[in-house]
Structures are given as C-alpha cells and as structure tokens.
C-alpha cells in the first residue's frame, strides 16, 4: 500500500461545470491513477470527460503533476507527494 498524499486537482474552465463549478479540488491520492479512480467513484460525470469508457485518458488531454507532463514522469502511476498540483489541460490543437 503506497503513501497517500494531500494534493490539489486543478480543472480547466470547460470542466468546471462538471466539477461543481470550482477550479480546484482537494484530494487524497498516492498516484495520478488513484486521482482518476477517485473521480470515477465520486464524480462520474466529470470522470467521463477525462477518461473514455475503457478507462484511458482522452487522447487530446494532458495531465501534469506540477510542471511536468505525466508522460515524462511515471505515467498514470506517477507517485504523488503532499502539496502536488495535478492539472488537466486540453492539448493545443484544432482549427
């Protein structure tokens, strides 16, 4: 059993309507995956905006822990520590 950290999940503006209108959600989780699992349990509609039916993070979303994209860290298994800020950011794309 890993350590559980007290972290903050930062939601971009388009997701706030699914998160009760707030920008920052305090959470307790040991990994980024645990943050998503918590969302699936407690905020299913918000979770569905972040992950598809298979549980994969949607293709055009990036997840950062502080300033680093999780793909450059340990992916969804990236360990979290107290005070970390997890940010969900839509990719810059489209036209």
């Amino acid at each position: 059993m890993g350590t559980v950290a007290t972290v903050t999940l930062y939601l971009p503006e388009p997701l706030r309507t699914y998160g009760g209108g707030i920008a920052e959600l305090p959470m307790s989780a040991g990994t980024v995956q645990a943050v998503l699992d918590d969302l699936e349990r407690t905020r299913a509609v918000l979770y569905r905006n972040v992950c598809d039916e298979t549980g994969a993070v949607r293709r055009h979303l990036n997840i950062f822990v502080n300033a680093d994209n999780v793909r450059d860290l340990g992916g969804l298994q990236t360990r979290l520590k107290d005070g970390d800020v997890i940010t969900i950011v839509p990719a810059v794309s489209g036209g």
């Binding site: 972040v50 598809d52 039916e53 979303l61």
Partner: protein, 370 residues
C-alpha cells in the same frame, strides 16, 4: 398549428438554428450552440412539443447530446450520452445519427465505432442495441475516410435499415433484435471482390412511406476506371431497391458521377429523388460547377438543377447529411457546404438561393415545419 420552418445546421463549430415563416422568404439565424465543438448529427423531433437534438462531438472531453425544448433558443446537455459498457473494450469516437423512435421521447443513435444505441427518455440515458453492436461482423468492419460510422437509421414498422461506412446495409425485420447484411447488388470498389457480403461504403439511404419496399442508396461510387483485380465496376454509386433492401440495382446512368454523399426523396412523390454528384477523386462539384440532380421517375433518368448556383470556381463538398427537403406543399430543398454556405432550392430545387454565406463548414442540415 405548424407555421414555422425550422432548420438545424450542424457545423464544425457548433449547431445553428434558422427559422422562417412558411413562405421561407428569409430565415433568422441563432447560434452557435455548443460553440466551437463539431456537430455531426441533429434531429428535430416533432411528436408533442418540438424538441431539437444535436450531437456535440467534443474531441477533448468526449461526446455529448444537446437538447432544446424552446425551439432552439437554448440547448442543454442531456444527463448522459451513449457509452459502451466498460468491459466492451470500445470507446465512443463520434455520434453520427440521431433519429426518432416510436414514443415521444424515444431516440435511436448511430455512433462511431459503428454501433447502435437507444434512449427511452429523450437522451438522458442510453442502452446499446446488441443485435448490431455485437454482431459477428462488427469487429470486422473497417473505417472509411470519415471513420467507422453508423450514419443511417431508417425505421419502417418492424424493419430497421442501417447504413454503415464501411459495413454496408444491415436489415432487421424483428424491430432491431437481430440484423443481417443485405447488400445484394451493392458494389464495393476498394477491394478485389466487387460484390462482397458486407463491408461496402454506403454513404446514405432514403425511403418514402408511399412506396413500400422501395429504398434509394448513395453508395461509394467512382470505380468505373478501376483496372485492378475484380475489374471495373461502373455505376455502383447510386442504387435502388424494390424489395425492402434485400436486393439493389443501379440507377446511376445519366449522372455525371456516381460518387456523392447525400440522397433525398421528395416528400410527396416517391419517384422523385435528389443526389449531389461529386468528382470521386476530389469529392467536389464536377468542373467546379455545383448542381443537384433530380430524377422524377425513380432513377430511370436524371436532370440537372443549377439555376442560381455558381457556374464556376466552386469546389465544395456536400456531406452525407447536409442535404434535406421540407414537406410543405411546394417543398424547398436545402444543402450545406463544407465551405459554410447554406443554400435553399425553392420549388423543389428549381431555383437556388444562398441563405447564409459564411457559416463554419457544414456537416448536416435537418428541417421540419413546427
């Protein structure tokens, strides 16, 4: 009393609503709703209080269904959108069609990857229809350029016709419980076997209540010059069935191209059908001069309708759901272009006029008199 003509216009940047009096002299535009997000399908449900639906296909945050109960003055998200069961392994990519069911709040929805969903509560909850979504062929279909989409749902009593690109035409005769491929006479140009059991790139199917058993199909044509295995396959693009979709025959003779996307039937004459031929390589208007082609004898012959349309230098595409016709006594045809123009063809297409000249690229157009 129904006295307003309502258009829903699904675009790359949201859904617009245009409204006019029955004379259709001018339309007032509202929107975009769901701004910035592509809308691939819309529906104006006219049973009871008119309700407008739009699929908001968000590439970042997933699929939503938008609903309006105030004639398109505002839209809100339904409580949920179609979704595959968690253990299915597939994830929704797009929503390509929303059609009405029997009940006032019943909806049928075709999605990508090609599957069928049904709602009994106006889109707040959805269940997958397993007879086609888990069909033994479903994992063998291949996506076309637009994706692996279920774009056509036609209900006719206990019959349900589905158009899948590229899966072909599937038919249920038990209300949607079970489906079989029904593609006899439907050609495919992108594989050695010109007439496979399934896997055709059907673009659109249409029918009329007054002609039981008859269906029209715009298939993926443009294969007359193919010289590879299986040989050339001319005129496979525009087809007709007279036996409820069990078999099909070509009605493409006389058209400048058998490639196109939409096919539309006149509301008061099952023998009158409209297509929009496109050059198969570029998928744009032949010679840069757009024209709707109309048959008034069920596809035996065709004539070009282009009065009011540009005569040159117009290279737009009209997508599969971007042409429709209203059901007023003298109906008007409507089509939207990938260059963002919405055209009206008054008097059944005799005279065209551009209603809106600079919308975002148009994916679909629906009309109803409400």
């Amino acid at each position: 009393m129904a006295d307003r003509v309502m258009l829903t216009i699904g675009t790359k940047k949201g859904v617009f609503v245009a409204e006019a009096a029955k004379a259709r002299r001018s339309f007032a535009l509202r929107g975009p709703f769901g701004p910035g997000i592509p809308v691939y399908s819309t529906l104006i449900a006219t049973k009871g209080t008119p309700t407008l639906y739009a699929s908001s296909c968000n590439p970042f945050f997933g699929m939503k269904v938008l609903r309006s109960t105030n004639m398109g003055k505002s839209f809100t998200e339904t409580k949920s959108a179609p979704a595959f069961p968690k253990d299915d392994g597939r994830a929704l990519i797009n929503i390509w069609s929303i059609e009405p069911g029997n009940g006032r709040k019943e909806l049928w929805c075709g999605v990508e990857p090609a599957s069928l969903f049904r709602s009994q509560d106006g889109g707040d909850s959805w269940e997958m229809v397993p007879g086609i979504s888990n069909h033994e062929h479903a994992r063998k279909w291949n996506p076309g350029n637009g994706g692996l989409c279920m774009h056509t749902i036609i209900r006719d009593g206990n019959r349900v016709h589905l158009g899948i690109s590229t899966g072909g035409h599937y038919l249920s005769e038990d209300g949607g419980q079970t489906f079989k491929p029904s593609n006899t006479g439907v050609g495919a140009g992108f594989q050695p076997d010109p007439y496979p059991e399934y896997g055709q790139c059907v673009h659109k199917i249409a029918r009329h209540d007054d002609a039981p058993g008859r269906l029209y199909m715009q298939n993926h044509g443009g294969w007359a010059a193919w010289t590879g295995p299986g040989g050339p396959r001319p005129d496979i693009g525009v087809l007709r069935s007279d036996d409820y979709g069990h078999s099909w025959r070509s009605i493409a003779k006389g058209l400048p191209s058998d490639f196109g996307f939409p096919i539309v039937v006149h509301p008061h004459d099952a023998d009158t059908v409209y297509v929009m031929p496109l050059e198969p390589a570029t998928r744009t208007c032949p010679g840069g001069a757009p024209g709707v082609w109309r048959s008034e004898n069920g596809g035996d012959s065709w004539s070009r309708l282009a009065k009011g349309l540009p005569k040159k230098e117009s290279y737009f595409t009209i997508l599969r759901d971007a042409m429709t016709i209203d059901d007023l006594k003298t109906p008007a045809l409507y089509f939207g272009t990938t260059t963002g123009q919405l055209w009206i063809g008054r008097e059944g297409g005799e005279k065209f006029e551009c209603l809106f000249d600079a919308l975002p690229p148009i994916h679909n157009v629906k009309v109803a008199v409400v």
